[in-house]
């Protein structure tokens, strides 16, 4: 399975830094805006998106990031929030409404940068597991066996499987 991560952050240094950290293990695409993110997803698809909530210096309410999360949720794409605005309400909204996989505070990440890798790694591991289950089910169906497609086979939201572990 292709392990491709889309990083959405309006600050070039952060995009470069995240890419630098993750590129050894994952395929990393970086974009600087909501619009660019949509284009990438539409054109090339995405398995996991790392979203900064404030996508422009004027976006004080962090709505652009939240809008992106909404769009991702609609397209059943898992997202990780990485933000310098670790506000309780935002985290709650992102987790409850848009079922994001994780919410990472940049200042917490500063204590240990490995955490990002760990989270992304875990996400792909779960995604792989789901992929596997899904393909097995498809194969069984093709083989003419009766297949029951429960919700559990969906890879979204990933968060559910992590919490159930």
């Amino acid at each position: 399975m292709r392990k491709r991560v889309l990083v959405v952050d309006d600050v070039p240094d952060w995009r470069a830094q995240l890419q630098s950290i993750l590129k050894g293990e994952f395929e990393v695409i970086t974009v600087d805006s909501y619009q660019a993110a949509i284009e990438v997803i539409r054109d090339r698809g995405a398995e996991l998106v790392i979203v900064d909530l404030r996508l422009s210096p004027t976006d004080e309410e962090n709505r652009q990031g939240m809008d992106l999360l909404k769009l991702l949720a609609e397209h059943r794409i898992n997202a990780i929030v990485l933000t310098g605005y670790p506000e309780h309400e935002l985290q709650e909204e992102a987790e409850e409404k848009y079922k994001i996989f994780d919410f990472i505070d940049k200042s917490v990440l500063a204590q240990n940068f490995q955490k990002l890798r760990d989270v992304v790694r875990e996400a792909f591991k779960l995604l792989e597991g789901k992929e596997k289950e899904k393909s097995e089910a498809i194969q069984a169906a093709r083989a003419g066996r009766p297949v029951f497609f429960p919700d559990e086979l969906s890879s979204w939201p990933l968060r559910k499987y992590r919490d159930n572990k």
Binding site: G84, P86, K106, S107, A110, Q111
Partner: protein, 725 residues
């Protein structure tokens, strides 16, 4: 007074007796004529004869006429002398005598002599009996005039002093003295009717003697003076007068009593008597006495007016004093105390009290009571009397003052208060406190020490009460104003605190986010760099130096990030909820590791009411506890955490047994970036204080060197005081 004799006596001294002349003078001219031939005989008989005129023969020789003339003049200086047998020249030169009133040369007729005699008698000598008599009359008249002038003078003086002297006793004393002076009496007295006892009371006297003055009073119904009072007519009696019944036991010889009247009303008696002189008084004495009595009446009226004025001005002074006293403070608690202490003393009551109306309870509530020594009668404090009950309740209900001078027999009186205090009420003066038409309460005075409470006391106390009532009203309004002011100020302060919190929160948040979004990248980059360098071969020494450099960069950058995180966390949105502070303390304690060298002692009140606050209080507790642990880090010690209720507030205390804070530093501990700890961010206590201000709470610190430090947090616990989220 001597009167002139109807028929003048004429003495003729002549050696020759002219009988026809004599007869003619007697019969035709109505003269009594005596003839003496000898000069010596004439001198001897002069005293018996008492002649009105002497006719002397100038040629008399034994003794010679000139010496006889001198003798005559000496013995009877008032008798005029007519010389016969001489001419004018001879008379003047030989007989230089003032008594010679005329002369006749020989021969002369009876008619000539008679005419001369007649004219001499018509012009009496200056020292003649007639003149002397007249002069005596004049002198007497003059003396009477002088006496009258003196009387008038005395009366005038009295009048003057009556109109100028306003001090009653002085005027009355002068009237009494004047009565003696004007009537020549032995004694005088001025008695006034005492309206209460209906007795005549001595108010002034002259020569009466001290012993008698002291207890001098007479029953109106049973005395001469009383009779004067009853009839309004003067009475003059003496032992030799039979016109009136003289009381047995009248020890004086004579007396006059005249009424002292104001209009038709007899207000007293002015009297004089002669105790020693055996003399009755004349009608004139009585008239004089009446004049004096009038003066006394005027003086009494004047003095009464003056006294009323003086009393009024004294009253005004008192009212003024009380109003000044009660308006000198706006403290509503102080006014009643000052007022009651003052008036109890002034009205000479045994006890004074003040009760205020409590409309909600339909009662008057005693605020305080003082005795005349200024001691408070605490048993009456807060005693409640239903409206309409007892005199105080009655006054509070009706707004009408009451005087009861015999309460034990008064049906409206309630003995409850007496039972409470052990006081025995006899007389009550109670007036309402009314301001702006509203009954505020009642002032009550008990047991006037001398006499009864009267209308005047009532009027005066009412005046005082009205001054006091408006002062109380003022103070109440001031207090209400002050309270609403305070509330306003508090609201203002809270608004400012909230605004400050919001501004600080926004600034801190903005700063922290910026740091998160920029500086947080540095440690990440360092850590990644370290990872990237790991497989790179380099000399050990170089690697160490690179690692050290990276470490310093990371550490210092992380400090900045931590600060931003702390700021962000401490100024985050924190919805207010009802918390039991004990739970928040316990939550804080689970987040902190207590070192082994520190003993933790908790005294948490299990029955604390809920406090409206946020979970940021946990952060505040963490701040205080970590501070405490830090100061005891080296030497160990005891950490004491306590919670307790104070009124409608909850307090939390965090006490360490550390070295304490120096007095000069204690005011700085709440300042931003003040820290004594190298790794401290220096805004912890500042933040705690800011947070608590926003929570309507407060934090205080007490510390003494080597005796530790106590921080006390206080928060309001009334749910309605919850700050809006």
């Amino acid at each position: 007074m001597t009167s002139v004799r109807k028929n003048p006596h004429i003495l003729i001294i002549d050696p020759a007796d002219n009988v026809s002349l004599r007869t003619s003078l007697e019969n035709q001219y109505g003269l009594v004529v005596k003839h003496l031939a000898s000069g010596q005989t004439a001198l001897d008989m002069l005293r018996q004869i008492k002649p009105d005129l002497v006719v002397l023969n100038a040629n008399l020789s034994d003794p010679p006429a000139s010496s006889l003339l001198a003798e005559l003049t000496a013995q009877k200086p008032t008798a005029p002398i007519i010389l016969v047998g001489a001419n004018g020249e001879t008379a003047k030169t030989n007989f230089n005598n003032n008594n010679i009133v005329g002369w006749l040369n020989q021969p002369f007729t009876a008619a000539e002599l008679a005419a001369l005699i007649q004219s001499a008698l018509d012009r009496p000598l200056p020292n003649s009996d007639l003149v002397l008599t007249k002069r005596a009359e004049l002198i007497e008249a003059n003396q009477q005039l002088t006496a009258r002038v003196q009387q008038l003078q005395t009366l005038f003086e009295i009048g003057k002093s009556v109109t100028s002297q306003l001090e009653l006793e002085g005027v009355l004393g002068q009237v009494a003295k004047a009565a003696v002076a004007l009537t020549g009496a032995d004694e005088s007295y001025l008695l006034l009717v005492d309206e209460v006892s209906d007795n005549l009371v001595l108010r002034a006297e002259a020569n009466l003697g001290v012993e008698e003055v002291k207890n001098f009073w007479i029953k109106v119904s049973d005395s001469i003076a009383g009779q004067v009072v009853q009839t309004g007519e003067p009475i003059a009696i003496s032992r030799d007068s039979h016109s009136l019944k003289v009381k047995t036991g009248l020890v004086v010889y004579a007396l006059v009593n005249v009424p002292v009247k104001v209009g038709p009303k007899v207000i007293g008696v002015l009297g004089v008597d002669n105790r020693y002189q055996q003399r009755a008084f004349t009608h004139e004495d009585q008239m004089l006495l009446s004049t004096l009595a009038d003066w006394a009446a005027i003086a009494l009226q004047n003095a009464k007016l003056y006294a009323a004025t003086a009393e009024l001005s004294r009253d005004l002074e008192l009212v003024n004093e009380v109003s000044h006293l009660v308006s000198s403070t706006l403290d509503v608690e102080q006014i009643p105390r000052l007022l009651i202490q003052h008036i109890t003393e002034i009205f000479e009551a045994e006890c004074g009290s003040l009760a205020l109306l409590d409309k909600e309870r339909g009662s008057v509530v005693f605020q305080l009571a003082y005795d005349s020594q200024g001691n408070e009668l605490t048993s009456l404090k807060n005693f409640l009397m239903p409206l309409g009950e007892g005199i105080v309740g009655l006054v509070a209900q009706t707004g009408l003052p009451h005087i009861v001078n015999n309460v034990q027999n008064y049906p409206g009186w309630s003995p409850i208060a007496d039972r409470l205090t052990g006081f025995t009420t006899q007389k009550i003066l109670a007036v309402p406190l009314i301001a702006e038409g509203e009954i505020l309460g009642v002032i009550e005075l008990l047991n006037k020490k001398v006499g009864n409470f009267d209308q005047h006391d009532l009027e005066l106390l009412s005046l005082v009460a009205s001054a006091a009532a408006s002062a109380i009203q003022n103070a109440r309004q001031y207090e209400a104003l002050q309270k609403s002011n305070e509330a306003l100020q508090q609201a203002q302060e809270e608004r400012i605190a909230a605004e400050r919190w919001a501004v600080l929160g926004k600034a801190a948040g903005s700063l922290a986010h910026r740091i998160n979004n920029t500086t947080a990248l540095v440690p990440i980059a360092i850590q990644h760099l370290r990872e990237l360098l790991q497989p790179v071969a380099m000399p050990l020494k170089l690697r160490k130096e690179v690692d050290d450099n990276l470490g310093r960069i990371e550490r210092n950058t992380l400090y900045t990030v931590d600060l931003a995180v702390a700021l962000l966390r401490r100024f985050r949105q924190h919805p207010a909820k009802a918390y039991n502070v004990n739970d928040l303390i316990k939550r804080a304690l689970t987040l902190i590791e207590i070192p082994e060298n520190i003993k933790l002692v908790c005294h948490l009140d299990p029955n604390l009411p809920a406090v409206g606050t946020s979970d940021l209080l946990v952060d505040a507790m963490i701040e205080l506890i970590t501070n405490a642990l830090r100061v005891m880090e080296a030497s160990g010690g005891m950490l004491r955490i306590a919670s307790f209720k104070v009124g409608n507030r909850v307090s939390i205390q965090v006490t360490d047994s550390g070295p304490g804070i120096l007095a000069e530093d204690i005011n700085q501990v709440f300042e931003m970036f003040y820290t004594t700890h190298p790794q401290g961010l220096g805004f912890g206590l500042w933040w705690v204080k800011t947070f608590l201000q926003q929570q309507r709470g407060e934090i205080t610190v007490e510390s003494r060197p080597n005796q530790g430090t106590t921080f006390t947090i206080t928060l309001p616990c009334h749910p309605s005081l919850l700050p809006s989220p």
